[in-house]
């Protein structure tokens, strides 16, 4: 017997987000968990910056800058006992501060278009990587665009994933869609290759309907104006696959969270089409764990390695627990340790900006310390900017969970 019916729905529009401020009881739990407030007194913390300041924002625009220091990690929202959508309130305040994008810095504008940079750089990958590897160029980039000279910029790979996919033979099987996103398309092709191979191994045929970017960097820094058209085009591109009943699998926890919940919260896209796309999106590890664990267990070879897993902040927003951990625990002989840090500090494009780089370093300090003590052979993390950051700061190889699983299947422990 059905008691209270089907679920109510994914995050609602911005009015609900802002309205949730009234549920705040000022308990301070969010402040106690905010990784940014813990390292800088410049940031007054989620309780103030979210529900409390929102009251003043209602009365008219407030001269404020502190929301810009929030990294958008979402830790605060996940610990609030009263369901205040704290980090979403702060993100909407950012959009007000930058006037929906009109008053945004050139550097942030660039960072907000990882697909564009990747595509331009991808035409001349070697040249781009050499240039960005040069400290002189990075200094110039810093002073022109405010992108910190030692922020972990990824290497540009050209269209490696597309090329690989085009020449990759897949046997027939149930079809699933893969949302690769700009990171796989331009910077991190190996993750996409590993996922497609893994899904093939389980009998699926993978199609990649689009190479568009989810536009999260724009949304989280408040550039909502230009984001709207880009997002609509993406929803249109994904919808046909959804209509045929396919799941849309993502290897990026930040892209998938954006697709699932943030278009409604930040752009008020609560129409049916957007909703259908949102409900079809599933994280790769979540997909693999649900119904495939038995099959996987049989084909995973022993991997006697010290593995440190750092769950990215967005996992909290996904509210799905840590499926990657459960998957990796299927690998025989693995020595798995879990990161005790709430956040690696990078916060998407947050730590790239010159004025926030030091905060990002301080936030990530405890993770770096844990790596020093545990001395892992390899670090695993679901989110690309976190991986680049962790790798840059620890010099330990950092891969996506599906890469580790694929290595275990290949017997490359």
């Amino acid at each position: 017997m059905l008691h209270s019916g089907v679920f109510i729905g994914i995050d609602h529009g911005s009015a609900n987000v802002l309205g949730s401020m009234d549920q705040c009881t000022k308990c301070g739990i969010c402040n106690a968990h905010c990784p940014v407030a813990a390292v800088t007194r410049e940031f007054p913390g989620p309780k103030y910056c979210g529900p409390q300041a929102q009251r003043f924002r209602l009365a008219g625009s407030v001269p404020e800058w502190s929301p810009m220091l929030c990294s958008g990690c979402g830790v605060c929202t996940s610990v609030c006992p009263n369901n205040v959508a704290i980090s979403d309130i702060i993100t909407l305040a950012k959009a007000d501060i930058v006037g929906g994008g009109d008053r945004i810095s050139l550097g942030q504008r660039l960072l907000n278009r990882p697909d564009l940079i990747g595509r331009l750089g991808g035409k001349f990958p070697t040249l781009t990587n050499t240039l960005l590897g040069s400290s002189i160029v990075r200094r110039i980039v810093e002073s022109l665009f405010g992108i910190h000279r030692s922020a972990p910029l990824p290497e540009v790979h050209g269209r490696k994933f597309r090329k690989w996919l085009a020449s990759h033979d897949q046997e027939n099987g149930p079809i699933v869609s893969y949302f690769s996103g700009c990171a796989i398309e331009n910077y991190d092709p190996d993750v996409g290759i590993a996922l497609v191979r893994l899904l093939n191994h389980l009998g699926y045929k993978v199609q990649v309907p689009t190479d568009r970017c989810c536009s999260l960097p724009m949304l989280s820094s408040g550039e909502t104006g230009p984001a709207r058209a880009r997002v609509q085009a993406l929803v249109d591109a994904l919808h046909p696959s959804v209509l045929t009943g396919q799941k849309i699998i993502s290897t990026s926890t930040s892209c998938s969270l954006t697709l699932r919940a943030k278009y409604a919260a930040y752009l008020d896209m609560t129409d049916d089409k957007s909703g259908e796309v949102a409900s079809a999106v599933v994280d790769a590890c979540e997909f693999l764990l649900d119904g495939h664990a038995g099959r996987l267990r049989k084909c995973l070879n022993a991997m006697p390695l010290r593995v440190l897993y750092h769950g990215p902040c967005q996992l909290r927003g996904h509210k799905m627990g840590t499926p990657a951990v459960e998957l990796m625990q299927l690998i025989p002989e693995i020595n798995l340790q879990l990161s005790q840090a709430d956040c690696c500090g990078i916060g998407g494009t947050y730590g790239y900006e010159k004025n926030k780089h030091d905060i990002a370093l301080a936030v990530g300090a405890s993770l770096v310390e844990q790596v020093r003590q545990f001395e892992p052979d390899i670090i695993v993390c679901d989110s690309e900017t976190c991986r680049w950051n962790i790798e840059a700061r620890t010099s330990v190889e950092c891969v996506h969970p599906v890469q580790l699983l694929m290595r275990a299947i290949d017997g490359r422990g």
Binding site: M1, L2, V6, F7, G28, N31, P81, N83, G321, Q340
Partner: protein, 411 residues
């Protein structure tokens, strides 16, 4: 996705039930919304501090008077043997997760955030108790700019127990001023010895014990306090602060880690938005639309106070996730609740002695259990019994669930 059990809520009782069920070899999924009430818990395990009938009467030996409690009290349902087992087991776990709790068989008086002495059954190593500081001269640390610790009040109240105090003004590492920021600053302090050496001059020579606010680290506090004791040459103890409680966060974090690390179970973080309840199968939907299935459910979502139970505009309490029958002594209207907080505390989901709830009109469920603050007929604030009831009912629910799951296997 299917597991043996789903636990709703991330309260202490839910964590206890989850760990115990994992020990029995079952798969468990926790679905909780937000930080649990351990964020409000001072240090130590409070089993029964005051008589539920007369809150002036301090209890010395809580376990000796369980049988005198009302039949409906959660402790009576669990029974004295189970309570003992649960507490012994918890003491063991607390050692394994480096949050060692010691029980001596009777209550001690511990210093609270306002300096008042509160009866506590299990204490941790660095917890300030009257036994450890009574009659001594304490240097009481006040961090610059830090407001969640009413130092003067604590000093006055300690005076009443015969402890002399001298307030010492100190700058915290990084000049941090909030509970968690202070804890993190101490965790990351590299040269603890030199930090405490620098303090040495400001501490009066006649002091024989140091009292710090309980913010001396989340993960590294053992190291930090050991360094303080070594350098300052006297016991260094912690006094609870106003919430959010750092010792409570330590315990929550350690239990959560223990659950994640040692076992393959998942700790999800979400509210639930719908359910279907059958005699042998329970399905719940989380608020992202995911569907989870289990053989049984344990509800430990913190009752009215932690938002686990809803109150409608008539003041009537509802358990909305599954439609379990609730108990309340009077309507919970804003106007009356102010006068009688007791009515709010003693509200909850009615159960039988096996902690099993009832669904609209039907008999007691075989595959559902209720724990902790979601249970009625006890008043944690007045009795000072929060952690004791949570540990006892969390454990008992897991044992009863184990019995039920075994009966399924046999059948």
């Amino acid at each position: 996705m299917k597991t043996d059990a789903i636990i709703i809520g991330t309260e202490l009782d839910g964590l206890i039930a989850a760990i115990r069920l994992r020990e029995h070899g079952y798969s468990v999924r926790m679905i909780g919304n937000g930080g649990g009430s351990l964020h409000y818990a001072p240090e130590g395990i409070h089993v029964l501090g005051f008589s539920p009938r007369n809150d002036e009467e301090i209890i010395c030996e809580p376990l000796a008077i369980i049988s005198q409690l009302d039949q409906s009290h959660p402790y009576r349902k669990v029974g004295i043997d189970q309570i003992r087992n649960a507490l012994d087991w918890f003491v063991n776990i607390s050692g394994e997760i480096h949050q060692k709790i010691t029980i001596s068989g009777h209550n001690e008086l511990a210093v609270s955030a306002t300096g008042l002495s509160i009866p506590v059954y299990g204490t941790s190593e660095h917890q300030a108790t009257v036994g450890k500081i009574g009659g001594k001269t304490a240097a009481l640390v006040r961090f610059r700019g830090y407001r969640d610790f009413p130092v003067e009040l604590v000093a006055i109240e300690l005076g009443k127990t015969g402890t002399k105090t001298e307030i010492v003004d100190v700058v915290a590492p990084g000049d941090a001023v909030e509970n968690a920021a202070l804890a993190k600053a101490f965790d990351e302090l590299e040269e603890t010895d030199s930090y405490f050496t620098a303090l040495k001059d400001s501490i009066p020579s006649y002091a024989d014990v140091m009292l710090f606010p309980a913010v001396m680290g989340l993960s590294n506090f053992h190291r930090t306090l050991a360094s303080a004791e070594r350098v300052l040459g006297m016991p260094c103890l912690e006094v609870p602060t106003l919430p959010p409680s750092v010792p409570g966060m330590r315990l929550e974090r350690a239990l959560t880690n223990y659950l994640r690390n040692g076992t393959a179970s998942l700790h999800s973080c979400s509210g639930i938005s719908g359910s279907s309840f059958e005699t042998d199968r329970i399905v719940v939907w989380d608020d992202m639309g995911r569907q989870y299935e289990a053989s049984l459910v344990i509800v430990s979502n913190g009752g009215v106070l932690m938002g686990g139970l809803d109150v409608d505009s008539y003041g009537v309490v509802h358990e909305t996730s599954f439609g379990f029958k609730t108990y309340q002594s009077e309507p919970l209207k804003p106007t009356t609740v102010g006068r009688s907080l007791n009515a709010l505390h003693i509200t909850g989901v009615e159960t039988d002695d096996a902690l099993r709830p009832q669904r609209n009109g039907s008999g007691f469920c075989r595959n559902a259990f209720v724990t902790g603050r979601t249970l009625p007929h006890w008043n944690p604030a007045m009795e000072c019994s929060t952690e004791g009831v949570c540990v006892a009912t969390g454990w008992a629910a897991a044992e009863n669930a184990h019995e039920y799951l075994e009966s399924l296997n046999v059948a």
